[in-house]
Amino acid sequence: MSMSSFIDDETLQEYISESLEHLADIEQDLLTIEEGGADIDEEVVNRVFRAAHSLKGGAGFLALDTIKELAHKIENVLDMMRNREITPNPEIINILLNSFDKLRDLINNSSTSNEEDIDEFVVALVGLTTAHLAPAEQASVSNMIPITKNDGNVIFEVPEIDLAQAKKGSQTLYLLEYDLIHDVYQHGKTPMEIIKNVMDLGTIIETLIDIDKVGTLDDAPINSIPFYMLISSIIEPIVAPDFLELPTEKILLIGNDGKQLEEGGPAETPTQDAPPLEPTPAPSPTPSPTMTSSEPEQPLTPKPKETTGPETVPPPTTEKPTKTPAPKAKKVAPAKEKAAKTEKSDTPTSLRVSVNLLESLMTLAGEMVLSRNQLLQAISQQDQHSIKLSGQRIDLVTSELQEAIMMTRMQPIGSIFNKFPRVVRDMSQKLDKEINLIVTGKDVELDKTIIEGLGDPLTHLIRNSADHGIETPKIRIAAAKPRAGKIELKAYHEAGQVNIEITDDGNGLDAEKIADKALEKGMISSDQHKAMSRKEKMALILLPSLSTAEKVTDVSGRGVGMDVVKSNIDQLGGQIEIDSEMGRGTTIKIKLPLTLAIIPSLLVSVGEERFAVPQVNVSELVRIGAAQIKERIERVGDSEVMPLRGELIPLIRLASVLGIQSSVVDPKSGEEREDRRSAIADRRSPTTTIDESLEQTLDEEFANKRSGQDRRYKASSDLNIVVVSAGSFKYGLVVDDLHDSIEIVVKPMGRHLKHLASYAGATIMGDGRVALILDVAGIAKLADLISMAGSQRAQDLAETGEGSRNKDRQSLLLFRNGPEEPCAVPLEIVERVEQVQHEDIETKSGQKVIKYRGGSLPLFALSDVSEVAKLSQEQELVVIVFTVAEREIGLLASQPVDTVEIKAVIDRDTLRDTGIMGSSIIKEQTTLIIDIYELVETRKPEWFKRLQKRKEREKEAQRHGSDSSTATAPPEIKKILLVEDSDFFRSQLKKYIDDDERQCIPAEDGLIAWNWLQEHPDELSLIITDIEMPNMDGFELCRRIRNDDRFNDLKIIAVTSLASDEHIAKGKSVGINDYQIKLDKDKLLTSIDKHIQ
């Protein structure tokens, strides 16, 4: 027999929502109590006590016995605390916090709460109570006293201690016998009101609904449900009936022994006959409002409340004289229905709105109705002026209404901030740290949906700060920091957004460590690693599965998290920034929009279709002129990329991804629907590339022209690209047209369309048409552009693509040959750049020279050796000075001269010529990369005699085959293994090194080098290796070499484009003998001389 059938759903809901409200502030209060220690703030303890007490009272009535018991045990502890019998300490507060947690849990799942096991908590709480009692009193905890009526009925048993506690302060014990039908429902009251009233007057010790009494009635109409309450109160027996709204005979005085006092209530009460409900002048202010409040409620109950007695039970009850205890049939049926509903979602989806706001909404709604009436009237009277006026009015009212309604969605962020003091407290205990949490800006309001989505990420961040940020006191003191760490949680408005900052004064993040880890896990390339700013490196922590925590703790960490935080914040349309200083602390800043319901968006179109792209995702707009498409768009495999300021942006054609056909969609034509069907199938693989689709659209245009259809398509149109960022990566969305930026109201899509990844929803445009809102992350997924950072992936594709093997980051000197011929040379090999005048250039025996530093500098021009423009008289000339073959030479060039550091992807085929290594796109211009060595070599082969000699020898050696190479190679030539993945650097290095005595054996990566070593273990005199290489890097190669006894004496020189101290240290640790900067020729040669054997 389920007791819960007594409980109508409304009462339960009321109880749950009230209880949760009581519990909301408990943590804060408990923490305050903990802080106060022995210095007890009675006010606060009382507040917590009352909360527990209310929970207990309601639970007793609702037959939620488990909740009641737990609340009761908590109450006992708090009671002793306020009587100063228990001094709060962290341990006690812990128990209380955990118990309240459990209590909240039970209340949230009230329907199953009675099956829950709470022994653990009860034992702890009772333990507390017992431990703090005098030994004599300890037995009283378990000693049960039966509460007995004069007729001998034992109503319930109560622990002696409860009675003893209750009687403290000269309180009187009453046993109240309410009848739920007569005393409660028929008075238009709810049981909760009764309980609340009683709680205002005294303390409830125990409650009971006497179901046995109800159950035994077989056929007779149920006419009473007794509800017993044992309370202690300071009110005098003489006034009790008035306050308690009970007839005197239902109020029994109970003695210390639990027995009804013979001379109790009735005897002592002269006002026994007074009608219980007559409002007597109240001696204390508390009960009077209670009394009066019952008056206005009367009209609400249609039943005449004077009528009492068995015959006047509510009619539905008589209809159901079944054994099931359904006495309160009034609400049984709807209650069941509701119960079914509420079971599904335990968290009520209701929202509290301030009465003021609600009233202003009502006013506005009234205004709206009024305006509508005016409008209708004006329309029927054809009164243009009035129509206009009403229109304006409605416009005004609508905006106000919208604003007010949006306000109802706003909630203070305090609702989530409030839980953090507890989180931090628990963590600091667990981690043995001292942490102060400072929370400001609780009143800042945000949209309900944002608040809801913010809880998890913020909790994670706070936990991170406490766990990984703040150090243990020992470390902090050693670092001359205050013993207690500080975490600041701050919310504030800024520029129409809400900012949330989490600042800790802990250890800070090690940007390098994060970047190293990312490198180790292959999330970034070594070049990226080198080029990234500190802040960029820090932002890497937001990538999936990167965590700086060296050990996994159970508190936070586990290596996941920050990426989840990031994606949570992304979902809320927010941004996250991390700033940190080693040893000083970390600040994480989250910027959030005020609401998600209205978002600024960019309107784009493809064919006739318009789409909205949320502005938060748009990072920039790029338009490429039709003529430039071929140059600006590179194709890598089957995908297209656009170089943009040194980054490669993968491109996605919206039309291909969505399968948009270029023909006009006319929903009214059945024929075209056929069209659509086949088209979608045809386009299932979105491999259409830009060039193809341009051709395609051209074809289509002709077709359309033929069929006489009006198509708004410009064949020669520019390419419009919306560069969007979806989480951690960027890509370019190719659309037909870019339109305005507008504010849109997001509307959810129907159930058939919700699951479509490409859309985030729909919106209604000013013209009443519907536009779809694009989900840029979803589109990236559809286009298979996922997992890695998009630009990174494009980069990888670029590397594997043909003719783009060179990828090391290079500093280049940019200059012009002809006015429209951008050229570049590696900055490292440039000695100087000098301005010269045309007239200073002399020509001596076919060689141009200028006077330079007391000698003459031979000049070369690119046009000497290759098919490029000759420098004209009009151009401002410069001479770029190089050292080639141990001589200084000058290259004639023209302004403007600039430098740039890029990852040069060199096309070695298209524009290859003598003296021109190839071309690359630099600053969005095709730039010739000059090979100055080749240029000079071509012009002055005699300067390179030694080189040539050796080349001949090499060829000879190769003719003899590899096996015999050892024998035929002149013994005086020392072999140097040159391991370098970049063609550019390899050829440059080889040119430096090769001479009569030394010969480079090139290897493209560590693995190739290692394999070569296996075959020729005894030939080498030296190894020169790059560090960052595919397949096997320089470190690994060295490790292998050093672990092989055969190569004990072999020296290794590492070359790198940038040698950081860390690199050098790491290099030394794996056995690298020397570190040199690539292209620092002199030093490198010196080092070779030193180390070669």
Partner: protein, 150 residues
């Protein structure tokens, strides 16, 4: 079957007559501009704005696997509601509202042309016509997509 009279909103789709309990019909509208939703299931024509609500429009002909007719001006959209979500059903021509006796309803005959029998909750037949009564819940349910069934 129920012994009450039933009001049917009857309409034509291809060459077949269908009926929908008028209680289920929210309104009937002319075909407005429809926004196509690419990558949506085949039977979804698109979405429209119905006084501020986004309504998904279902092409009944495709859903019921009937040949789609050449466009006429008579096309209408019947707005129905299911689980608090409005849907639009595109039909070829709206006919009268007919009153029928619940007793006259019969089960769908086995040879009914619609391959998807579950979309039909019953048929009504008199001397000259056969009207198939649609089961709206089945039609708007997500459980199936026509292509899945093949």
């Amino acid at each position: 079957m129920a012994d009450t009279t039933l009001q049917l909103c009857s309409f034509q789709l291809a060459d077949a007559l269908f009926g929908l309990d008028t209680m289920l019909v929210q309104e009937i509208i002319k075909v407005p501009e429809i926004t196509k939703v690419y990558q949506a299931p085949e039977e979804i024509i698109g979405i429209i704005n119905l006084r501020g609500k986004i309504v998904t429009i279902i092409d009944l002909a495709i859903k019921l696997d009937l040949p789609t007719e050449i466009e006429t001006n008579n096309r209408r959209i019947i707005i129905v509601e299911s689980h608090n979500e409005p849907f639009g059903l595109m039909v070829d021509t709206i006919h009268d509202v007919i009153h029928i006796d619940g007793d006259e309803l019969g089960p769908a005959p086995a040879n009914v042309r619609i391959s998807q029998g579950r979309f039909i909750s019953g048929v009504f037949r008199d001397e000259e016509q056969l009207i198939a009564i649609l089961n709206i819940e089945e039609i708007v349910s997500l459980a199936e997509s026509k292509t899945d069934q093949v």
